[in-house]
Symmetry: none
Subunit: 243 residues, 2 copies
Amino acid sequence: MSIPRLLVVDDDPEMRSMMTQLLQQNGFIALPASSEQEIRAHLSAGRIDLILLDVMLGDENGIDICARLRREQDVPIILVSALSADHQRMAGYEVGADDYIAKPFNPQLMLARVRAVMQRARRSSSLAYRRRTHTFRFDGWVFDGKRDDLHSPEGYLVALSQRETALLKVLLANPHIPLTRDEIVAALDVTGDSDKSEAQGRAIDMLVGRLRSKIEANPKDPQMLRTERGVGYIFAADISVEE
Amino acid sequence: MSIPRLLVVDDDPEMRSMMTQLLQQNGFIALPASSEQEIRAHLSAGRIDLILLDVMLGDENGIDICARLRREQDVPIILVSALSADHQRMAGYEVGADDYIAKPFNPQLMLARVRAVMQRARRSSSLAYRRRTHTFRFDGWVFDGKRDDLHSPEGYLVALSQRETALLKVLLANPHIPLTRDEIVAALDVTGDSDKSEAQGRAIDMLVGRLRSKIEANPKDPQMLRTERGVGYIFAADISVEE
DNA sequence: ATGTCAACGTAACACGCTGTAACAGAAGTG
DNA sequence: CACTTCTGTTACAGCGTGTTACGTTGACAT
């Protein structure tokens, strides 16, 4: 892993240089900035591992900037502010900040919190965010998310119905996570009408059974699409994703 | 996405129930625990999304527990403590905690910080959620944690029910440690309803009996799954773990 | 030893959950 | 329209799991 590159955003030059110096002395690369425009320039120019963002930036507002950035990017953000009241902190967390540090702060503690957030981000980002149109492989099967069929380990092409395909996508997007019938219904329901979740009956069970009969070597003893008695279903195969 | 499952670890029953209630009322599943042993039982039995860990736990120490857990697992951990001095906070971050909340805390702010840590962790894919599925060997038996069966010393394949598998995992995670029925119930409990521990009756005894009948050469005189009269059960076989 | 009593093992039972065959609409296709 | 395919419903059988009841075991006091 290369040296972490941090963005220090503060409109007070003295504070800015104090923080960048502190970070540089502790093994980070610290890039100064003082406006949203500069932040965006840095983000598009090169890799940024974490942003230390002051809340009060003259005529700009760190909270709003954070909210906007979060909508577009996954970059870790730590808000820094002299506003330390609980409701102000909560506003920060609400717009997706990873931490909120009150000024004045203990430099060593700030470093520790920076490291903590980066550690968590690094562990998390090790796998790319999973989209449903990618190609999935599991247990010899190949599933191209764009098509309503999949390739068996033996090379046959197995046709799936529309609804079976949708179920498979839900399962592949939530591997190793037990899904209740309600959750599956909600995920399959494109309209958002949650009212009809009552009228589902045993439809999900049937759907699961039919998918099993197509992809399980022995549908009586399913290895991938398993039942969690009293809960729902869980996809228990190792999955790799491409593209 | 299924409901987040949190572990609330505190030795003060009042604080513990306050926190679990608060979390439950806000859409989380909160499982109470009060010792490292209980934490490990929960971790081995089911998915845990985040641990709220008190630092002062009677004779145990949350910092040490956090350090040990971090070495083995990737589960997000938030330390909670009345010790709020900077050097104490830093000790927490140093052992890999994701956040450090001082007691007393603002409930809403705590919720916000829990959400922030989980959000960051959740961008990860299944990796964080994937159960540890080691292969265990004991007394000639081979148990692949991914499957609901195990290989006998003679080479037969013995099928286990899901609940029997869960019990076996709890036992294997706590070898040579006597487990009370309550502890086993807590470890097996997936719902988070800690109230119904009363209504368990003799279910655990039956479960143990059924597992014995499958894996003990002479179920009348169990060698591995032994009874600790007046206490509970203890797994007394030598275990080796792989992978 | 012997009696007492609580803890434990387990057979028998009850109940709810799940798998699936059979059927019935619904929706497309010619 | 006839025909096929997909999808949800119903009914029933089988299985997993908790409860009860009763016999047995073990600890302890006398």
